[in-house]
């Protein structure tokens, strides 16, 4: 029983990062009805820059670099929206293209070495339970970001503007809201959140040039469990994904444990509303 409790707690700590990765996916989906798959790449870029420069300035520069990368997709979105037809799939493919490009750039610059900063070492003893400090920081940062996002979305004018854009872009535009600016800001905010996840990973489990797609996948998996419409649901989805991963790693063999999160995502997609039209604009 104690083991189970420890696995659940450790899963929550890991899942907090997935939750942070799911937040930008939810935000971008809310305002643009498409998915920015490059969140994993923003995380990697932020970690590389933070590692290269070091210190607090490195963290700020890392987050700035992540936002600069997301700015590429802002331009892509603007150009894609000028075309006729559905731009959403093209945007997803472009974001995958950005992942490929940035991963390659990092591989070229840093090689295959994992980026890991072990300065936040040590463990906290909660009675018989042992939890890493780095994981607790991840959870605290994740919950703080979620709280901030909830306040911004539901208590500020900017949040009202974003929600109005999400509900009906045309009506929002007629009401004087500059929809393209809102969409651009959301993608940039996604870059910032993705970069934050990268920094958290840099100080906890580490990441390398191969990580972006896996991270985007984890974030997306977390986001679809309870629906992408609400950041809170996405974050909770991340926590659940982390717990499933930790429990399967604790009780199942290595091979089965690594398969369980995939099976979980497939199961969720099979039975949840994720496949319905309101998830993402159904294939006509």
């Amino acid at each position: 029983m104690l083991n189970l409790l420890e696995y659940v707690l450790r899963g929550l700590l890991t899942g907090a990062v997935y939750g942070v990765l799911a937040l930008p996916l939810s935000l971008v989906f809310l305002t643009t009805t498409t998915i920015d798959f490059a969140v994993g790449a923003y995380a990697l870029v932020a970690a590389v820059v933070a590692a290269q420069i070091g210190g607090v300035f490195g963290l700020v520069a890392g987050l700035g670099a992540a936002m600069a990368c997301s700015a590429v997709l802002v331009f892509v979105l603007v150009l894609l929206k000028r075309q006729r037809g559905d731009y959403r799939i093209s945007f997803i493919l472009a974001s995958i293209g950005l992942v490929v490009a940035l991963s390659s750039l990092v591989f070229w610059a840093k090689g295959p070495t994992a980026l890991l900063n072990g300065t936040v070492g040590g463990v906290a003893h909660l009675g018989p339970l042992i939890l890493p400090y780095a994981g607790l920081i991840n959870l605290a940062v994740g919950v703080s970001l979620l709280a901030m996002l909830q306040v911004v979305l539901f208590k500020t004018h900017a949040g009202k503007v974003m929600r109005a854009t999400a509900i009906n872009p045309k009506a929002a535009s007629l009401a004087g809201i500059r929809v393209p600016v809102v969409e651009a800001s959301t993608i940039l905010a996604g870059g910032l959140l993705g970069g934050t996840a990268g920094i958290l990973l840099y100080y906890s489990s580490g990441l390398d040039f191969n990580s972006p797609l896996t991270l985007s996948f984890a974030g997306f998996g977390a986001a679809v469990i309870f629906g992408m419409e609400r950041p809170l649901r996405c974050f909770v989805g991340g926590l659940i994904l982390g717990v499933v991963e930790a429990i399967s790693a604790g009780y199942a063999s290595g091979a089965v444990a690594s398969m369980l999160p995939m099976l979980f995502v497939l199961l969720v997609l099979s039975v949840s509303h994720a496949g319905s039209a309101r998830f993402s604009g159904d294939r006509p």
């Binding site: 498409t34 998915i35 590429v72 892509v76 150009l79 894609l80 075309q83 037809g85 959403r88 799939i89 093209s90 997803i92 493919l93 472009a94 995958i96 293209g97 950005l98 992942v99 490929v100 490009a101 940035l102 991963s103 390659s104 750039l105 591989f107 070229w108 797609l213 996948f217 997306f220 998996g221 679809v224 290595g254 091979a255 690594s258 398969m259 995939m262 099976l263 995502v265 497939l266 997609l269 099979s270 994720a274 496949g275 319905s276 039209a277 998830f279 993402s280 604009g281 159904d282 294939r283 006509p284």
Partner: protein, 329 residues
């Protein structure tokens, strides 16, 4: 004549094969590139079929190719089967897996389907890595025999491109049939297709299985070319790469994925640093999506090229016309 017109894409691929064959003749490295390009083109063709014609953004094509490759590797090395005997198995098993996955794929929206198929691909990949007793785990399977009669690289290249041409011919036949018409209607309007009496679910499942067949054949060719297969040989990253190849060439055009695969494979071979290939590749994809969203072989791109050529033709002939006019009495 009508038959030739109906199979213009297959003829184009055959022409590329013959022209390419003349170019690479006597150059072993170029022959190897031609083989790899042909195999990737076949996987890209499968991605083009499922995405360009059925509208399903599948991330499984690379792993279906891996399943085809592992099938022939296991049958030939463990049970001593002939490569010809394993051909059908290399097609059937990926197709069966696609049919198993299709109930989920059919009900998902376009964004969720990418995630669902990626999860399925990762699952298959993990199964391949973990099933040591059959797949050899991380070490893979070595000593896969070459295809009898196709031991020479040039002969093998001819075989690969002949298979690719046959696949394009088959693809064209499908798209020119009532099946293709129903698929096209379904891609644009599912409700309309259903109202027309099309069993949309069965249609999409069959298309997914057919695309898996193409990928399985590519895997079969790959395994017998390299002679070795491991989990990194054909993985889910390849699924993404071939999808990007299809998009660059034009997923909605039959021959588009072949051209995309050919262009990018050759481009990657001639680029100086292998580490930054992904950089070129990623930004090339973004550029194509922005400036030619339907691919390089889309109607709009071809139309603008024709218009440009026409303008150049007019500019060249304009002074000549004036001279002629000036010479008139």
């Amino acid at each position: 004549m009508k038959s030739l017109r109906m199979h213009s894409n297959a003829l184009a691929v055959a022409a590329i094969a013959v022209g390419g064959g003349l170019l690479v003749y006597g150059k072993p490295a170029a022959v190897d590139t031609a083989i790899v390009a042909g195999i990737f083109a076949l996987i890209a063709l499968s991605a083009g079929l499922i995405y360009g014609q059925a509208g399903i953004l599948s991330m499984t094509q690379g792993v279906f190719a891996a399943v085809g490759a592992y099938t022939t590797a296991v049958m030939t090395t463990r049970f001593g089967w002939s490569p010809f005997a394993t051909f059908a198995m290399s097609i059937a098993i990926p197709a069966a897996l696609a049919l198993c996955m299709s109930p989920i794929v059919n009900r998902l929206g376009p964004l969720a389907v990418a995630l669902g198929t990626l999860a399925f691909a990762k699952l298959l990949e993990l199964l391949i890595r973990s099933w040591d007793s059959v797949t050899g785990g991380y070490t893979g399977i070595a000593g896969i025999p070459p295809i009898p009669g196709a031991g020479q690289p040039l002969v093998y290249a001819a075989l690969v491109w002949a298979v690719l041409t046959a696949a394009v011919w088959c693809y064209e036949n499908v798209m020119n049939s009532m099946f293709g018409g129903a698929l096209s209607t379904s891609r644009h309007d599912r409700a309309r297709a259903a109202a027309d009496g099309v069993a949309v679910g069965t249609l999409l499942s069959t298309t997914y299985a057919l695309s898996a067949c193409f990928a399985g054949v590519a895997g079969w060719l790959y395994a017998h070319h390299i002679g070795f297969i491991d989990p990194h040989s054909l993985d889910s990253h390849l699924s993404i790469t071939v999808m990007l190849m299809a998009v660059v060439g034009g997923a909605g055009v039959v021959v588009g994925p072949v051209v995309g695969a050919l262009l990018l494979t050759v481009l990657l071979q001639v680029l100086p640093a292998q580490e930054v290939q992904g950089l070129y590749f990623g930004f090339a994809l973004i550029a194509v999506l922005v400036f030619a969203p339907e691919g390089l072989l889309s109607r709009s791109v071809l139309k603008s090229i024709r218009a440009q050529v026409h303008r150049w033709g007019q500019q060249d002939s304009a002074p000549e016309t004036q001279d002629t006019k000036a010479g008139l009495p």
